[in-house]
């Protein structure tokens, strides 16, 4: 391990280091976008109405694996109102290949061809084989049933482990195997230590397949206007600019002919990161038909083809000391990433390996990641992005060591944590963990849940015939990722801050909001930087013709990268304002501060000018004495790149894609009904640390949402495929989401350990909370069922599985 590089020089200011107004940062400010969303006045892609609109319906393969022998569209084309039927072959003939991006040097899928519709063969049930465009959506759908596709079925690969066996059918025959990507991340000599250790423990863990289910399914409207040479593309997406780049590459259009607009997005969770086949398809259909084309996924289509996540199998082994310290860890992770695609989901398998051993100081680790392609829906990014699996594994390792040593789970974690004084900490995978105080967070959450008293509470419950248990979940969530060589995932973003002649401030940003409220945080940052009222700030996102190029929304980057760009751009305007104000007040600009709409002398606030008057000087008096020394105009576009990222292993000895490391300690108490296996969460306590919190209200909203999805994943949600590669959970009757009835009250506190690397010390918060329910629930269920020696090594914790775990000992006997 090399020395930790110095913190960056481009750092602007850590929290409180530079004097600036903090009137809004750190305050509970209701999200600016919320009133419209709550009032039902949100404008979504489905609300886009255009003259001559046409409607697309996708003909989808009923088979998971099949050769397409022929497609006959004669009957469909004869239906009145049908405008066109397009097949994969038509798109291939136009050269509309979809670019498939890797995940940095050496981390990429093996090569394959991808088109917006299947060509020659289908690779998962539901893959589009043709599309019908018609005057109305009903005609499109009815006619799509008349498209006659002649398939020759073949045996699908539906299980990753079996897909690795010799003789298995192949998803991509040219690869010679079903391995899409594999990597080994080793540090030290785990194999030798484990072989020589006096104490070892190991096991297997299986994470099931599930996904984020946005209320708004995927939706696109494409309108190609050949006279104005503009493709307008409205999309329920997270990443308008990268979408523009990708559409340009696929359709051979210059990027300045494309305008991508992101209306309100009704939930995204990573799953609306491009590049879906339907995104390229709908744009291509508009080009082909010369008409606006609309497509909105049906629920079944979205569950079938909208991107899945998770589903992986761990085999692990650890060496430990009798005092609970883990000395080495070996992991083999086989991930079932579904069909090859242009989505980034498969990269989650890599991140799981990269994030290990999370917040623990285990120097000797050996992690093998094998991403296996199967005839199932491709993974797309889903909140957690593989980090959740890493933290879940570590929770299970810590609980296993506690069981083996007879120590309690909290003690084992406390003995293995990276200590607060050891930050910035170079983690085994190459990352620099910026900051944290894991012991403090865990100790605080133990206080909240009254850990010391729990054995008594548990004994009392047991005396009443009830089985309750306490479980711990420790999550580490690297955020703000920057991946070398991708159009989509670089760690920079742009912001334009503009002060108009009347003093109002407009922020244009490359980051977008999927409804999480980051626009409000950006406004808070701009308002405080300029010392003005929040009400004067308007944030505009999600339009490639208006906003500076930026990468949109993923990896909780809205504040850490987008917010920093706003901070820098507003800072540039601030300097200009102070300079002119200094001229007006005849003082050194360095002695001025701005606050509350005024620019005043530090320590002598009665000497001030109204910020608005300074703006007027710049706009209306550009040759006057006060403003003639500055460039006219009040607009700054600046870009920010996070510096705690390392992409040059040859010079720095490390590759790290993640600059910002949020974390959370969770403790929960759950009750298990031993007769039915039903789990009820009685208490849920968490201490969350994402550095400086810009807006506690929206940050809490993010953690609550993440927690609900984590509980849903641990207990209720599962995408089930049958042996033929048919998805059998294609409605919300079968894919069961938790409701307010299932989610307990969340007792949440924030701990602030500012990042030394980012302006304002903020870290990402968008993925927080989704991880710790997995480990905490497994721990709580095992604790509750100690009498039965029940072991949990598989999710979800459905009543049936828990019941079986209760009776497993009898079965073994």
């Amino acid at each position: 391990m090399g020395a930790v590089p110095k913190t960056n020089t481009a750092r602007i200011d850590a929290a409180g280091n530079e004097e600036q107004s903090m009137a809004f940062i750190g305050k509970n400010v209701p999200a600016q976008n919320s009133p419209a969303l709550v009032a039902g006045a949100g404008l979504y892609t489905g609300d886009v109405k255009l003259d001559r609109m046409s409607y697309a319906h996708v003909v989808r393969s009923p088979y998971a694996a099949a050769h397409i022998r022929a497609i006959d569209a004669t009957a469909a084309l004869a239906v009145p109102g049908v405008i066109a039927v397009v097949t994969g072959e038509d798109l291939r003939a136009k050269g509309y290949a979809m670019p498939v991006e890797g995940f940095g040097e050496g981390v990429r899928p093996k090569p394959f061809d991808l088109y917006p519709l299947a060509v020659d063969r289908v690779r998962y049930a539901g893959e589009g084989v043709a599309a019908v465009v018609a005057e109305d959506p009903y005609t499109a759908k009815q006619a799509s049933l008349l498209v006659d596709v002649d398939y020759e079925e073949s045996d699908p690969v539906v299980d990753a482990e079996r897909g690795l066996e010799p003789g298995s059918p192949l998803v991509e025959p040219s690869w010679g195997s079903n391995v899409l990507f594999e990597a080994r991340m080793s540090s030290g000599d785990a194999t030798r230590i484990i072989a020589a250790a006096a104490h070892t423990v190991g096991g297997e863990l299986h994470h099931h397949r599930y996904t984020g289910a946005a209320m708004e399914p995927r939706a696109y409207v494409a309108d190609y206007d050949p006279y104005r040479r503009t493709l307008s593309f409205w999309a329920s997406t997270q990443c308008p600019h990268p979408m523009r780049t990708l559409l340009g590459q696929t359709l051979h259009l210059p990027e300045n002919d494309i305008r991508v607009i992101q209306p309100n997005v009704g939930g995204a969770f990573g799953l609306k990161i491009p590049y879906f086949q339907e995104e390229a398809l709908i744009a291509a259909l508009s080009l082909a038909c010369g008409r606006p084309v609309r497509w909105i996924a049906e629920r079944r289509e979205d569950l079938l083809t909208g991107g899945h996540a998770r589903e992986g199998h761990f085999r692990w082994q650890a060496a430990f000391e009798p005092d609970g310290r883990v000395t080495a860890l070996k992991v083999r992770y086989v991930a079932d990433v579904g069909a090859p695609s242009a989505l980034a989901g498969w990269g989650q398998s890599y991140v799981t390996g990269f994030a290990l051993p999370t917040c623990y100081k285990i120097r000797d680790t050996d992690v093998e990641v094998i991403a296996v392609t199967t005839h199932k829906c491709a993974w797309n990014a889903y909140r957690g992005f593989g980090k959740e699996s890493a933290s879940w594994l570590m929770d299970r390792v810590m609980d296993a060591v506690a069981r083996e040593t007879g120590l309690d789970s909290a003690t084992v974690r406390l003995r293995n944590f990276i200590q607060p004084e050891e930050f910035p900490y170079p983690q085994n995978g190459g990352a620099i963990i910026d900051s944290g105080n894991y012991p403090q967070a865990l100790k605080r959450v133990l206080e909240m849940i009254d850990y010391a008293n729990f054995p008594k509470i548990k004994a009392e419950a047991r005396a009443q015939g009830r089985y309750i248990g306490l479980g711990l979940g420790q999550e580490l969530t690297p955020e703000g990722c920057s991946i070398a060589g991708t159009a989509r995932f670089n760690g920079w973003d742009g912001a334009t801050v503009r002060i108009g002649p009347s003093g109002e401030v407009t922020v244009l940003t490359g980051v977008t909001s999927p409804g999480t409220g980051n626009e409000t945080a950006l406004a808070q940052i701009a308002a405080d930087r300029l010392g003005i009222d929040l009400a004067q700030v308007k944030v505009i996102q999600g339009d490639t013709s208006i906003c500076p190029y930026g990468l949109g929304n993923f990896s909780s980057r809205g504040v850490i990268i987008g917010g920093a760009a706003v901070h820098v751009a507003a800072g540039e305007l601030r300097e200009k304002l102070l300079k002119v104000a200094g001229n007006m007040l005849e003082v050194d600009p360095g002695d001025l501060e701005c606050e509350n709409g005024k620019i005043m002398l530090k320590g002598a606030p009665f000497r001030y000018v109204d910020t608005k008057d300074v703006v007027t000087k710049i706009y209306a008096d550009c040759h006057g004495a006060a403003a003639c020394g500055v460039e006219p105009g009040l607009e700054a576009t600046r870009y920010f790149r996070h510096d705690n990222v390392y992409h040059q292993p040859e010079t720095q000895g490390r590759y790290s894609a993640y600059p910002s490391w949020a974390n959370q300690a969770t403790a929960l108490i759950a009750e298990v009904d031993p007769e039915t296996g039903l789990i009820k969460i009685l208490r849920y306590c968490a201490v969350h640390d994402s550095g400086k919190v810009i807006n506690p209200l929206t940050a809490e909203g993010n953690v609550h949402g993440g927690t609900a999805q984590g509980i849903g994943g641990a207990l209720y949600e599962q995408l089930v495929y049958d042996d033929y590669g048919q998805l059998t959970t294609t409605t919300f009757m079968d894919y069961t989401l938790p409701t307010a009835m299932e989610i307990p009250h969340i007792e949440l506190e924030h701990q602030e350990t500012p990042s030394p690397f980012s302006p304002l010390g903020a870290k990402g918060v968008g993925e927080s909370g989704i991880t710790s329910p997995l480990g905490a629930l497994c721990g709580a269920v095992e604790d509750a069922l100690r009498d039965f020696d029940a072991r949990i090594d598989r999710l979800p914790l459905s009543p049936e599985r828990v019941w079986k775990a209760i009776h497993a000992r009898e079965a073994r006997a």
Partner: protein
């Protein structure tokens, strides 16, 4: 998906066997089933309609019958396509007739593969129950028809199949309801009232 069912007919085996060799005639006894064309060589085209609550399926396709008279067994294999939802189905059904105490025992084993939208019904044992109930109705129709034909033969009258239920589209809404009630009763017998039984989790691929 493998589905096994048994039923008994109060008719002699030879008579039942003879009946089974007349596929179009047997088909009229299967709820919702219709033979639309006989191509010779035991090859047929047909249509099966099943309503499952609000979902109506109508599979059209081809089947081939391969009898093994020496063993009183036969195989029917076919595939079909539901244009209403773009689903496809394949099946292989093997029937075996044995002589029972009160007539003929019929064992039916099917292997059904569903693809497309209809595949979701392959979960949770629902198909097995629906098939069982369909076969019960089939057996009743068949028996009624055989008895009616024996009687009408005796009277040299034209085939009076009025006793047989019309082979109209089978409404499994009602069937499903009774099936669900049966499941619910079984569940309530096992589970205490406090379990609200929210998630009938599918453990199909669990172990």
């Amino acid at each position: 998906m493998k589905i096994s069912s048994n039923f008994a007919l109060a008719r002699p085996r030879d008579e039942v066997w003879a009946m089974f060799q007349d596929v179009p005639r047997v088909a009229t006894c299967i709820p919702g089933t219709q033979i639309t064309a006989a191509h010779g060589d035991n090859k047929f085209s047909g249509r099966v309609e099943v309503k499952l609550g609000p979902i109506a399926t109508a599979f059209e396709g081809d089947a081939e019958h391969t009898p093994e008279p020496a063993q009183f067994t036969g195989m029917i294999a076919g595939s079909g396509r539901d244009r209403g939802a773009g689903s496809r189905a394949k099946f292989t059904t093997v029937y075996r007739l044995t002589e029972g105490p009160s007539g003929t025992e019929v064992a039916v084993e099917s292997d059904v593969t569903l693809a497309g939208a209809v595949a979701q019904f392959g979960r949770t044992g629902l198909m097995q129950e629906v098939t069982n109930r369909m076969l019960q109705q089939f057996a009743a129709n068949l028996e009624a028809r055989m008895i009616a034909e024996v009687n009408s033969d005796a009277e040299h009258a034209p085939a009076a199949s009025a006793a047989a239920a019309p082979a109209s589209s089978m409404n499994l809404g009602a069937l499903l309801w009774s099936s669900l009630l049966g499941r619910l009763r079984a569940l309530l017998g096992r589970v205490r009232a406090r379990a609200h039984g929210r998630r009938a989790e599918d453990e199909h691929r669990a172990h």
